[in-house]
């Protein structure tokens, strides 16, 4: 069977698991194309207007796939990513939202409820449910589930060794090899804090990652961190947030604020996302105490490329000054744009 996988939201966390599972079952997977203008337009026209941009974009990817000749579009309900913690209400209602938005195709939405990071049992149950819907033999589904979990574990290892999720998607067939590949250390390192789908959707966030890398800045992201390393920030936060990803962004961000080898933090979040406004406030308050630059990028339907480039360059200059390196000089300013000049005169 042909199964469409929307390249949005939890794709940027669990794609390896989906990949391992479906390919082991011998189903053909069709990924939607990376977000572009067309996808955004599709999404905007099929969702209610006050919903966050990340979910709008998801609508776009689903519609794109429904228009192609796939048998099913896979919309898992990621209900919880940690014991006693749940996901954002919109994510918990995601399959329901899709069925409401695409009524005539409701039967083509393939879904099951996943509880992740709480042992294998709930994952096995969820995959069994999918196996039933696809009519695959139980034995095969069992094997495929193992494959899925194996891929996910490899991906986690790759993240922990400093590779971004985008590298993981690119190297999905050779994760073992990717894990061994060392990550080049740059003079400056900027940490990106945020939900993986905001950090990695290069179109909606104006390609922050490439912009930084092109300027010779290395990046790390909050999903590279093992939650164990930032557990103690609960105390500063008084109470844990109720969502795994928000805790990861908040505590991971604070961890990076405290790390001496990180020069600055950029938080990326989605317009109209109420959850990120909480961790952004926390990061602001915390960085005020510690004194490390934090910049917020809020992604919307048209995150302006020009304005963003200017802001990022200004941010890099700020980091350079902090390190005592002076401002970007004309020669090694890889962009060499007027914006660079403008920033220098500040």
């Amino acid at each position: 069977m042909k199964i469409g996988i929307p390249r949005a939201l939890y794709f940027y966390v669990y794609y390896p698991m989906w990949y391992g599972f479906f390919s082991s079952l011998g189903h053909e997977m069709k990924l939607s194309i990376p977000t572009n203008k067309e996808i955004i337009n599709l999404g905007v026209s099929h969702s209610v207007d006050d919903i966050c941009i990340s979910v709008k974009v998801f609508h776009g990817h689903v519609k794109y796939l429904l228009n192609k000749d796939v048998d099913f579009v896979f919309v898992p309900r990621i209900a919880s990513e940690e014991k006693y913690k749940y996901t954002c209400p919109k994510l918990a209602a995601l399959p329901d939202l899709m069925k409401s938005a695409f009524v005539s195709d409701a039967g083509r939405i393939l879904t099951a409820t996943f509880y992740t990071r709480q042992g294998d049992k709930p994952i096995i149950e969820a995959f069994e449910e999918i196996g039933r819907q696809l009519g695959d033999p139980e034995e095969k589904v069992k094997r495929a589930t193992k494959e899925g979990i194996k891929y996910q574990n490899l991906a986690t290892k790759a993240l922990r060794s400093g590779h971004t999720f985008l590298d993981i998607v690119k190297n999905i067939k050779n994760l073992e090899e990717l894990i061994k590949r060392p990550v080049e250390k740059k003079r400056y390192t900027v940490a990106l804090a945020g939900f993986p789908y905001d950090v990695y959707d290069t179109f909606t966030n104006g390609d922050v990652i490439s912009k930084l890398e092109d300027s010779g800045v290395g990046i790390v992201t909050t999903d590279m961190l093992d939650p164990k390393v930032y557990k103690h920030y609960s105390k500063y936060m008084i109470k844990d947030l109720f969502w795994y990803q928000a805790n990861a962004a908040a505590k991971g961000g604070m961890y990076y604020i405290d790390s001496p080898d990180i020069d600055g933090i950029i938080s990326i979040s989605s317009f109209n996302c109420g959850i990120s406004s909480i961790y952004q406030k926390l990061l602001d308050l915390y960085s005020k105490e510690i004194g490390k630059p934090v910049m917020h990028i809020i992604v919307d339907e048209q995150t302006g490329d020009a304005g963003l480039a200017t802001r990022i360059e200004a941010f890099i200059d700020l980091i350079r000054v902090k390190r005592g390196d002076g401002l970007v000089s004309q020669e090694n300013n890889l962009h060499g744009t007027e914006n660079g000049v403008h920033v220098r005169s500040v």
């Binding site: 209400p89 918990a92 209602a93 329901d96 069925k99 008084i238 109470k239 109420g274």
Partner: protein, 382 residues
């Protein structure tokens, strides 16, 4: 801890503030109730909150800030009611604390009352610890009494409110019932702390309202209100939507009240959840927190009870309600019931708001008329 006398302040929730006030008074504390939501409190709250934070959070922050600001010589326990649920509600109090501290306020501590949440071996002791922190050490019967009296007052106020909205579209002299009602609220507020006395006042006042000249009729268009609890339950947050609809000649019903909300969340939580999943089957098959599931369920139930339309009142950007909104478009189609979603934030202006309500009410009225005509033409043909 400083031995300064403690003053309590609590979120204001519609007319029921009078009940919360009694609660703390019975325990022997001073209590200051924040002023009703107004442009000033909203301005304060909005300018100090994260931009995309919930509107209820901003309102409450503004209210608390004004209370602290106006009473610098008092020491406050700020009571925050919250849950540990998938909603942002669960993180209100740490943010109040951090923001108010960041603004330089020191004359307060926050007492957050949250339900019991898992793991139970931790949750239950935590709940009682919080309760003690809320009330301080008192003889158990005093605490019980405070709960009982407050509960009765909430009940009485809600009964009066229901009566008010029932009578407004039926009264002979516009505005006459409201006058009686306002006096009644004051009487309940200052009622002696005895159940009997409260009951007596309630009955007297209900009778007074009943005796106010009006014409009973059951042919008014009916609108049900669903949405997020804090917007829905506080008239100053929703620009008095119930009263406005009542004055437009509509029979209006609000699905969430302090009484049923508390019952459904705390006492009947399990059966309530099962009921929601059953009614919402095929529309929303999962627990999403906040009041989103309730919004969908109550819309369906209103339709089944013969209502002509539903208004969903929500804070702008509210997570569960926006999800519900998208699903409600489908419910509205399948069940053939008009649903108007209204999002409230600091920019919601009175004028535009009234225009939208009026347009919706007009639409409902003409739909009713069309149905009547259809019925008639069918009978004629027969």
């Amino acid at each position: 801890m400083s031995r300064k006398k403690i003053t309590y302040t609590v979120p204001r929730m519609g007319y029921t503030y009078a009940a919360f006030e009694s609660f703390f008074k019975i325990l022997g504390y001073d209590v200051i109730i924040p002023e009703p939501t107004n442009t000033e409190t909203i301005k304060e709250g909005v300018s100090n909150s994260p931009e995309y934070m919930c509107f209820p959070f901003k309102i409450l922050l503004g209210q608390f800030e004004r209370v602290l600001e106006k009473n610098p010589d008092r020491y406050f326990k700020v009571v925050s009611l919250e849950s540990y649920g998938p909603c942002r509600f669960g993180y209100y109090s740490p943010l109040y604390y951090k923001i108010l501290r960041d603004k330089g306020f020191t004359n307060f501590e926050i007492v957050n009352i949250e339900g019991i949440y898992p793991p139970l071996y931790k949750g239950i002791p935590r709940f009682f610890k919080k309760l003690v922190k809320l009330t301080g050490w008192h003889a158990p019967w005093t605490v019980v009494k405070a709960f009982v009296i407050a509960g009765w007052k909430v009940y009485a106020l809600e009964q009066l409110e229901k009566k008010l909205y029932h009578l407004i579209p039926r009264e002979k002299v516009t505005g006459s019932t409201e006058k009686i009602f306002n006096a009644a609220v004051e009487r309940i507020r200052h009622a002696p702390n005895k159940v009997k006395a409260i009951k007596k006042i309630l009955n007297e006042e209900l009778e007074k309202m009943e005796n106010n000249p009006h014409v009973e009729r059951d042919d008014l268009p009916k609108i049900g209100l669903v949405g997020e609890a804090y917007i829905l339950m506080d008239y100053s947050n929703n620009l008095d939507i119930e009263k406005k609809l009542a004055y437009m000649g509509v029979d209006v019903d609000r699905s969430l009240r302090v009484t049923n909300w508390t019952l459904d969340r705390l006492i009947k939580a399990k059966s309530h959840k099962a009921h929601m999943l059953e009614v919402n089957k095929g529309y929303l098959d999962f627990f999403i927190g906040g009041d989103g599931q309730e919004s969908i369920m109550n819309t369906i139930l209103y339709k089944k009870a013969g209502y002509d339309g539903v208004i969903q009142a929500q804070p702008f950007g509210c997570l569960p309600e926006t999800a519900a909104k998208e699903i409600l478009t489908k419910v509205s189609e399948d069940y053939d019931i008009p649903v108007l979603s209204l999002a409230f934030d600091e920019q919601t202006g009175e004028a535009g708001f009234v225009t939208r309500l009026e347009a919706f009410v007009d639409m409902i009225k003409s739909r009713r008329q069309m149905k009547e005509e259809k019925k008639e033409s069918v009978t004629v043909e027969n």
